[in-house]
């Protein structure tokens, strides 16, 4: 309901004032087109990441080592689907349709996080993904609970509550294996060796190569820089690795008394960029699987639509 027609600069000033008061922007508020587009990209691709993110672990559901682990993994993968749906729901409040976002993913025009283009080669990877990959996601997502766009922040609050279960089940899985045989301990170490660097890449390239961070921070969409988040993750992970009894595969990793933080090496950014360009280890496989699942589900969607129409006709 528009009761007044305000001038554009007045709208912009009002938008800025809302941000300055640290209040949330809500769906029917006026917002700059750049703000809206940045949010659509961020939220939609976050949603795609959750949906594609079901694949690496879903791979292991039928081969879980016990009924307990199977129930946990099923619940976790179902949560990832749920996270994707909360996020699509938030993206739709910005005036895009769900189908359109799905098409953009399937066409490869919108991306998802490159972390899901790495293969899961052993069951230990289920634990490592929970501990490191979901741990890194928590570092990114906790500040997003206070992001300036209301529906995004609310979706993140729900996601973060559930993500804590994901990280803990992963860590517990690894801790159980570390109390097992030498072979199991070796599996954990091998898995951590493969996932440590990709987990660091999840925070994106270094700040000096991210010229648009300032705009996103001014809009309250982004709360910390990529490097700040990465440092936080490393500081959190080192004592966790020690308690677990695994070695993080970085010779440069050392406590820096002066900074009060751990120093650490840089991941291979060329490998990261290859993944973004579509040339990571599993990009083609992940996309092919997603397309196939979408096409294979077409008859279910059509049947549900036909049934709904039938019931509606019978009532009227």
């Amino acid at each position: 309901m528009t009761l007044t027609q305000a001038a554009p600069d007045e709208l912009e000033a009002h938008f800025e004032a809302t941000l300055a008061r640290h209040e949330r922007i809500e769906p029917r508020d006026w917002m700059p087109e750049g703000y809206r587009r940045t949010l659509v990209r961020q939220i939609a691709q976050h949603a795609h990441s959750e949906i594609i993110g079901m694949q690496p672990e879903g791979n292991w559901i039928t081969r879980a080592p016990s009924l307990r682990r199977k129930a946990i993994l099923l619940a976790k993968v179902q949560d990832e689907a749920g996270h994707g749906l909360y996020l699509y729901s938030a993206a739709e409040t910005l005036g895009v349709s769900r189908l359109e976002l799905t098409e953009l993913l399937l066409a490869g025009k919108q991306k998802y996080s490159s972390i899901f283009n790495y293969p899961t080669l052993s069951y230990a990877d289920v634990g490592t993904i929970g501990w490191l990959v979901d741990g890194a996601a928590i570092c990114n997502q906790v500040p997003l609970c206070r992001t300036s766009y209301g529906p995004y922040g609310r979706a993140m609050i729900r996601v973060c509550k559930e993500e804590s279960f994901h990280q803990r089940q992963g860590y517990e899985l690894l801790a159980t294996m570390m109390r097992g045989t030498d072979e199991q301990r070796a599996m954990v170490q091998e898995s951590v060796d493969r996932f440590w660097w990709p987990a660091l890449m999840m925070f994106g390239p270094p700040d000096d190569a991210s010229p648009n961070t300032a705009q996103s921070m001014a809009w309250g969409i982004k709360r910390h820089t990529n490097d700040e988040l990465r440092q936080k993750f490393v500081d959190m992970s080192v004592p966790q690795a020690e308690a677990l009894g695994v070695t993080l595969p970085d010779p440069a990793l050392a406590w820096n008394e002066e900074r009060g933080h751990y120093d650490f090496g840089q991941p291979d950014w060329e490998e990261f960029m290859e993944g973004v360009r579509g040339n990571g280890p599993c990009n083609a496989q992940r996309m092919a699987h997603r397309r196939r699942a979408h096409e294979d589900g077409a008859w279910v969607r059509e049947a549900a639509t036909a049934y709904a129409a039938q019931v509606r006709d019978a009532v009227s």
Partner: protein, 126 residues
């Protein structure tokens, strides 16, 4: 760091890992070829004695499917004892802006609040 092939910048705030925030289409807001199921808004009563609260939305072919999907998406951990689903196109909404003239009539009526009235300190239970 920008991807030299497309000039994209990547932000950690993709949430579950960095995603490019430039050079990515954001959709036209147009309907795709396949007709989309209607959008439903979902409201959940957390426990007895509380109001239903809006939690998000979902798409479903009909009301019953909307209810079942709402259960699966929004109440996987005992978040609710009752769910309402309402077709989004059936909702009439005001602007959320607090400065909207819509809410002006209540802005200047301080006498509607109990704190408007001075009561001597020695009067109990008021």
């Amino acid at each position: 760091m920008t991807d030299r092939t497309s000039g994209r910048e990547l932000s950690a705030e993709g949430g579950h890992g960095a995603v490019p925030l430039q050079g990515v289409p954001t959709g036209q807001g147009v309907q795709a070829p396949e007709p989309e199921w209607p959008l439903y808004e979902v409201f959940v009563r957390g426990k007895r004695g509380l109001n239903h609260v809006h939690v998000g939305s979902l798409h479903a072919a009909d009301d019953r499917m909307a209810l079942l999907h709402a259960r699966d998406v929004y109440t996987r951990r005992n978040e609710g004892v009752s769910i309402w689903v309402v077709r989004a196109d059936a909702i009439t909404a005001s602007s959320p802006d607090e400065k909207d003239p819509m809410f002006a009539p209540s802005g200047d009526k301080v006498y509607r609040h109990p704190t408007f009235y001075d009561i001597p300190d020695n009067v109990p239970h008021m």
